[in-house]
Amino acid sequence: MKRRKLKEKIYDLLNHKQNRNEEEEVINELGISGISKEEVDSLHNIKNNLDKVFPGEPTKRMDRRFYAMLEDEKRKLLLGEPDFGTTANTPRFTLNPWISIAAGITLFILGWFTSAWFSGTSNGDVQLANLSGEVKDLKETLVLTMMKQTSAVERIKAVNMVSEFEQANSRVIESLLRILNTDSNENVRLLSLEALIRYADNPEVREGLIASILNQTSPMIQIRLAEVMVALNEKRAATEFQKILEDANLNYSVRSKMNSAVVTLL
């Protein structure tokens, strides 16, 4: 009930049929319902414009012309007369609606990309980050494949490539540890150890290095492991070194290095 009243009041408001107090009251009520004064003003403007567009009742002359045109159209339809007149003056493009939709979508996408292009670096950075991520993945896959090659030169190249990585993930570390423990060439094993040392902060690497101590027979690798374990203060390695020291044929230099490592660590 109240709502209908309000509607009527709005109509009155737009036609200026109220006094100032009433007008303000209505505008306040509209404000409570969520319609601001600006909106009411814009409605005013629309009404004023509409009033200008329709300048009152149509004249008799207009009526005659309208009916004459209507008759004309009826006649054309009946006789099947081609519609030359209108097409010649106002050419019409009749497009398949699907094409129009497709064109719309294309424009939208084009607009999207253009705005992305101009809207600064943040999107570009994301794309660049994605791209460099992909390159990194590719490189990593390449390294892992090269590590399995029969040619020692290729395996060395792969191990050297790891040093270009800022961080090595567990797949790469696993492969380096596998080389350290099982590669057929002592030099490749040594290089793999050098590469792993760079990631000695990683617990996985430390565990792997400690576990590899007993696998090593090359004095060069044994000594390097002793140096590394002392530098890392890795007490767990001491017992592994003690096991190696039981070997009576152990190289003299390795023996003295491991002895001092055990003393330092324990």
Partner: protein, 265 residues
Amino acid sequence: MSMFKKIITAVLLSSGIIIQTFCQSEQLIVNLSDQSSNRLLAFENPKGSIKITGYDGSVIVVTASLRFPETEKIAGNGLRKIEQNSLDIEAEVNGNNVTLTCRTTGKTVDFDIKIPGNFSLKLKSLDNGKVDVINVSGEIEIENGNGNISLENVSGSAILSSIYGNINAVFREVKHDSPMIFTSFEGDITITLPETINARLKIKSEKGEILTDFNIKPIKRQPVVTNVDQSKVYSLENWVVGSINEGGPEYVIKSYNGNVTLKKK
């Protein structure tokens, strides 16, 4: 045959015929079906030396000899003891890979092998021998724990390691993108390289000296440091690093007790 796999087996047995001099050496000729440049000879000698010489021919000629010839022994009662000398050598050709196997164990057998000049090598002497390679071009991979390794007039790349032996390598040319490593625990390492090579060097001798006539530009490197217990930081980097000419593939040379010498050819 579905696979081009050919096995040539040469077994020499001096039989029960009484002969004054026992046959002390055996020759094996390996025909190569593949004449491409990408060929590899792999050989692990259980005991004895390996000498490989590159030549212009197209077959591999393997000569194996006992280092300590057996002589006729008198067992007493007018009977002679017949030594059952046997050299059991086998070459297996699989595509462009040739694998040579010596099954004679206990005796020292030295191998003298002539090979087409363009060949990669993967050699290992497990005991009592030296390894020499002359006039060969390819990837050369040698491990000889107890003896010396010597390369003469070779080209390509090399990965050499010894524990008690010296390493001496003279390169005619090097492959521009191949890394190389030379390590000996107790022995000296002497590498001779063409003056114009581009390489990045990583050298270390724990107890010995490093000598060179190359102009090596030192490279500043980010030290490898490790944070222990968030309080102490240790450096694990102890290599001498530098570049020759423009820098290039990495050459690692490391001895523990020996000297390292790097010379211009």
